[in-house]
């Protein structure tokens, strides 16, 4: 899927930003590491990668990215957060750490436990497969590493995916997308393609 002239930023304060950039390149999309406010100029969308949400939050505050990201998110700019990125987008994470508060969701960090409780599971995301025009709803490989879950959503938030026990692991609120798992650690590029579609259809 090729976009006209699009450039996607990947927040590069800490975490698996190189993995996202590598997938974007495979989709023939230009990508840029974002470390400062200036790096946000001219972007069509932003991915906040997996990593440690405490580090990403603190460093976004230190380098004044925090306010710029908040303003962008509030004005319709497409942002997708994976794992730590989802935490960073949330309104409430149940503890004192810098979060953008853009998505009307409550997130529980390390909801499954420590690394010993990390897991891989195939999940179905019907809204994404339908949007990409797939006839059958083939499941996505989802990698959960010390992963969060969404424990409550506001009225404007669409739940895109849940685990069999009902835990919410993918959400969308207009221009904002959040996944508790790591599509950047798999060869399945459909969520990236979906995010690019969100940007195109904005």
């Amino acid at each position: 899927m090729v976009m006209d002239r699009g450039i996607i930023g990947v927040l590069a304060l800490q975490g698996a930003f190189a993995e996202h950039i590598s997938i974007l390149h495979k989709l023939d999309v230009s990508a840029r590491e974002v470390r400062t406010v200036n790096d946000l100029d001219g972007l069509d969308g932003l991915i906040i990668p997996g990593g440690e949400s405490t580090v990403i939050g603190k460093m976004a505050v230190s380098y004044r990215l925090f306010d710029a990201l908040r303003t962008l998110g509030q004005t319709g700019f497409p942002i997708w957060g994976t794992c730590a990125g989802l935490i960073f987008l949330a309104k409430d994470v149940g503890r004192a750490q810098p979060v953008l508060g853009l998505m009307d969701i409550t997130v529980e960090r390390n909801a499954f436990g420590r690394q010993a409780d990390s897991f891989e599971q195939k999940i179905s995301i019907p809204a994404v497969t339908a949007c990409l025009g797939e006839k059958n709803d083939s499941p996505f490989p989802a990698v959960f590493i010390r992963a969060p879950v969404v424990t409550a959503v506001g009225p404007e938030v669409h739940i895109l995916a849940t685990l069999p026990d009902g835990k919410i692991v993918a959400v969308q609120q207009g221009n904002l997308l959040g996944t508790a798992f790591h599509p950047e650690l798999t060869n399945d590029r459909r969520l990236h393609a979906y995010f690019l579609r969100m940007i195109r259809d904005k």
Partner: protein
């Protein structure tokens, strides 16, 4: 749908989430909180920092489980802990405690002078030290899901960290110029598993995340290692043996993010107080060099 746990994807994946970050040695829950507050992406629980191990001598072992549990309760970021090379029972204990990563570390006194731990037999992921590509690929062959170049721990002197990173990364660059038929002889030369040699050549990097360790004491040291091409840094004695640990810790975190921006590095490096006192490598007897441990 079926749930898969403890796969290599999950083990190596946690290390991928630590990239671009700083992992800090801590000996108390209090230090762990300072490290988390400063922006550490993980902490390494140990009983004594390497410079104290070096100064006090004696056998250095796995930490008291109570201390590790205290650190795990104090912070929300991943907690790593060290076991001795080859001491698979210390590793079993650390796994039972539920630590997020085990460092089979040359900083502690080796328990086995021939064999490392069979890391594939564990559910918890391991990080190991290396001085060159052969050593790195042997450890990965044993199941390590993350590497770190060794440097010389507890010295506050970055020279060995540079030597080992240049060695690993330089050997990978040479490997990428080889034809397939040269790789078996190369694998034999560096005593590394052939399949991992081929995989490294194809990826043009180690098959797992690779941090630098051993002697990093300043923001400039950290940025130097990042520019050389590592994925992140471990800081041991460099933080809590300096005059203002919280400030220095935060500065090193910032230096790893802005490692290519000299203007930012100048601001980050200013007014941090005294770095830890450093050691000239030539003053350390060969028998006390930690990097030589590992086979």
């Amino acid at each position: 749908m079926t749930i898969k746990k403890q796969s290599f994807t999950l083990k190596a994946g946690l290390a991928q989430m630590l990239k671009g970050g700083v992992i800090m040695d801590v000996v108390t829950a209090e230090q762990a909180k300072i490290a988390e507050e400063a922006g550490a992406c993980a902490v390494m629980a140990l009983e004594r920092v390497p410079s104290d191990i070096r100064a006090q001598g004696g056998v250095a072992r796995m930490s008291d489980p109570d201390l590790i549990k205290g650190i795990m309760e104090a912070v929300t970021i991943p907690v790593m802990a060290k076991c001795r090379i080859g001491h698979f029972v210390e590793a079993q204990i650390l796994e039972a405690l539920g630590v997020d990563y085990i460092d089979e570390s040359e900083v502690l006194t080796p328990a086995d002078e021939q064999n490392h731990i069979d890391k594939q037999a564990f559910n918890v992921p391991f990080v190991c030290g290396c001085r060159n590509l052969g050593e790195a690929l042997r450890r990965i062959g044993e199941g390590a899901a993350m590497m770190r170049t060794k440097g010389e721990a507890g010295t506050g002197n970055v020279v060995e960290a540079v030597r080992h990173a240049r060695s690993v990364l330089g050997e990978i660059r040479r490997l990428t110029t080889m034809t397939r038929d040269e790789m078996m002889a190369y694998a034999k030369d560096i005593q590394a598993p052939y399949e991992l040699v081929v995989q490294t050549a194809r990826l043009k990097r180690l098959p797992v995340v690779n941090f630098a360790a051993g002697g990093i004491a300043t923001p400039a040291d950290a940025a130097l290692m990042m520019q050389l091409g590592v994925d992140g840094v471990f800081v041991g004695s460099g933080i809590f043996k300096s005059s203002d640990p919280a400030r220095r810790a935060k500065a090193i975190v910032e230096a790893v993010i802005h490692y290519r921006d000299p203007h930012k590095l100048a601001a980050i490096s200013a007014g941090l107080g005294e770095a830890m006192p450093g050691l000239e490598l030539a003053t350390i007897p060969e028998s006390q060099k930690m990097a030589k441990r590992g086979w």
